[in-house]
């Protein structure tokens, strides 16, 4: 099998991974350095720089949720493009059909059912992650539907 990968696809694989890594890195950086710097600011009496704990905590909470969103979005896009590349390498022609639109809905329902059935024994954090994955699949469904319409229009 000859490796004749379109550089556009390589770019399309690396970019979402870099985005996901950036999201994780940004949250970690914020958690470690902002908290420490804030303590340093109040220790030096620098009230112009100091941020009240509620505000800092609010920032960290929002950043954590954004991090979840970006990681999942990035990995979803990465997976989608990886499938395209592998199919291209194998010389397959790929037609986008109804199955590709329904698949994310099926997965979303699967995850949702799993976390609902086991809600008694799974910790809250894990359930939040699970429901976040469901939201991501529903976004994927929207993307697939849009793609399906485009493919149908172009014939």
């Amino acid at each position: 099998m000859s490796l004749n990968v379109n550089p556009v696809y390589v770019r399309r694989l690396l970019a979402p991974i870099v985005l996901s890594l950036f999201a994780v890195g940004w949250y970690k950086f914020s958690f470690i350095y902002f908290t420490a710097s804030n303590k340093l600011a109040i220790a030096h009496g620098d009230y112009a720089v100091y941020v009240v704990p509620e505000q800092l905590q609010g920032y960290l909470t929002a950043t954590l949720w954004i991090c979840y969103f970006l990681v999942f979005a990035g990995l979803t896009v990465f997976w989608y493009n990886l499938v395209k590349i592998v199919q291209g390498l194998n010389g397959e022609t790929w037609t986008f059909g109804g199955i590709d639109v329904i698949m994310p809905v099926v997965l979303a329902v699967e995850f949702d059912t799993f976390f609902y059935l086991f809600r008694g024994i799974t910790p809250m954090d894990l359930r939040i992650i699970g429901y976040s994955i469901v939201i991501v699949f529903l976004m994927w469904f929207w993307y697939a539907l849009v793609k399906f319409v485009r493919v149908k229009e172009n014939g």
Partner: protein
């Protein structure tokens, strides 16, 4: 002067909404190729007022929206003027330096960020230059500027309602005075913006009919007096909407203008009483991120350096706004197939971009903000600094165009 929260919710919501607004800002600006500098350079390079007219439309719509919200009593006036800036010599000088640097480097603060997120290496260099420029300003210029601000030397000694046009005109901030000032202030801006756009398009049509043969790519020049059937119009609009949603076509200038104006109003409402409730990006991309990079090396500029120690909290809503602006622009360019690492062919452009970035950093800090954080925001604040800034920026851009023509 008291900040009054309009709604009651926690800080995570405020930060979340500002992050969302940053995403919308980055996404829309990238899709619409919205650039304040380009709008001004077009005036001097190709004699086109179309995009400049769109800018005036943006300022007018933002002023009208914010003013109506306050004038009808939905948002307290203090939440509109609380963060109004000082006004003085530094606004004019800073805006000239900013305009010059931004045109030299190839992007204002907004376009610098969304182009950097789309893979333009020149704008990464410009961003780094901006950080250096911020530091240069902090150690070399801020102590002197602060002295003039504190002592009223060609400067006001406070911001807030002192810079608020309803107060300056009517000596009160009642709903009626705000409403009247809003209408006087915003409607001429909107009218002028629309007029400039119509005038430019008329000129293009005239030029195309004068040249030999039809210009092939000017779309839909219809013969006078022949109406297009409604059904065909509807089909065209439907196709246009579908192309926009599927990212096949960029957003038009006026569509982007409306989205950005609504984005500004979103943060104006949600942030009211909590924080600087306008779109602001400069403090973060120029100052904070430089400080954050130095955190990694154990350095804390807020302990040792002027401006960093009295003007810049560790984090605020603009931090997330800038990060998500870049994410929104990235997604927009990536999903639209436009994301690509681009290096200028002429390597001198990177050096010019760096120098331009330094000037941008110095200029925006002197002017207390950039084209977004001061100029656009101040129109929504119904102040006068934005008017000073726009003229200064035009002057700086003009000079840069002349210099670029010789480079």
């Amino acid at each position: 002067m008291v900040l009054e929260p309009v709604f009651s919710y926690g800080w995570p919501i405020v930060f979340g909404v500002f992050a969302l607004s940053g995403f919308i800002l980055g996404w829309s600006a990238q899709r619409g190729n919205y650039c304040f500098v380009n709008a001004m350079t077009s005036v001097f390079t190709v004699r086109s007022y179309e995009r400049f007219g769109a800018l005036l439309l943006l300022f007018g719509l933002s002023a009208l929206g914010a003013g109506l919200l306050v004038g009808t009593g939905l948002i307290p006036a203090s939440d509109q003027y609380y963060f109004n800036y000082f006004g003085g010599w530094y606004i004019l000088v800073g805006s000239i330096i900013f305009g010059f640097g931004a045109a030299l480097a190839g992007g204002c603060n907004l376009s610098m960020l969304y182009r950097a997120a789309s893979g333009y290496v020149q704008n990464w260099i410009e961003l780094f230059g901006m950080m250096i420029g911020t530091y240069i300003f902090a150690i070399a210029i801020w102590p002197f500027q602060l002295y003039t601000m504190e002592n009223g030397i060609f400067s006001t000694t406070s911001g807030g309602y002192v810079e608020y046009l309803p107060y300056l005109i009517f000596h009160n901030v009642s709903n009626l005075s705000v409403m009247i000032t809003t209408l006087i202030y915003s409607i001429p801006l909107i009218g002028l913006g629309i007029y400039l756009q119509i005038r430019t398009k008329k000129k293009w049509k005239m030029m195309s009919s004068m040249s030999k043969g039809m210009m092939p790519s000017i779309p839909k020049i219809k013969a006078m007096g022949s109406p297009v059937p409604t059904s065909i119009k509807r089909m065209e609009i439907g196709k246009e909407a579908k192309d926009l949603l599927l990212l096949k076509k960029p957003y038009g200038t006026n569509l982007t203008t409306v989205i950005l104006a609504l984005d500004m109003l979103l943060v104006f409402v949600i942030g009211a009483g909590y924080t600087f409730n306008y779109l602001v990006i400069t403090s973060s991309d120029g100052g904070r991120f430089f400080e954050y990079i130095l955190f990694l090396f154990g350095q804390h500029l807020f302990l040792t350096t002027p401006w960093f120690n009295d003007s810049l909290p560790i984090v605020d809503t603009s931090t997330l706004m800038v990060v998500m602006l870049c994410v929104g622009a990235f997604f927009s360019s990536y999903l639209g197939g436009d994301f690509k690492i681009r290096v200028p062919r002429e390597k001198k452009r990177l050096f010019i971009g760096f120098v331009g970035g330094i000037l941008v950093g110095i200029g925006v800090r002197m002017a207390l903000g950039c084209n977004v954080g001061l100029m656009w925001t101040n129109f929504a604040q119904i102040g006068y600094d934005g008017i000073i800034f726009i003229f200064g920026m035009l002057g700086g851009v003009y000079l840069a165009v002349k210099v670029q023509e010789r480079l």
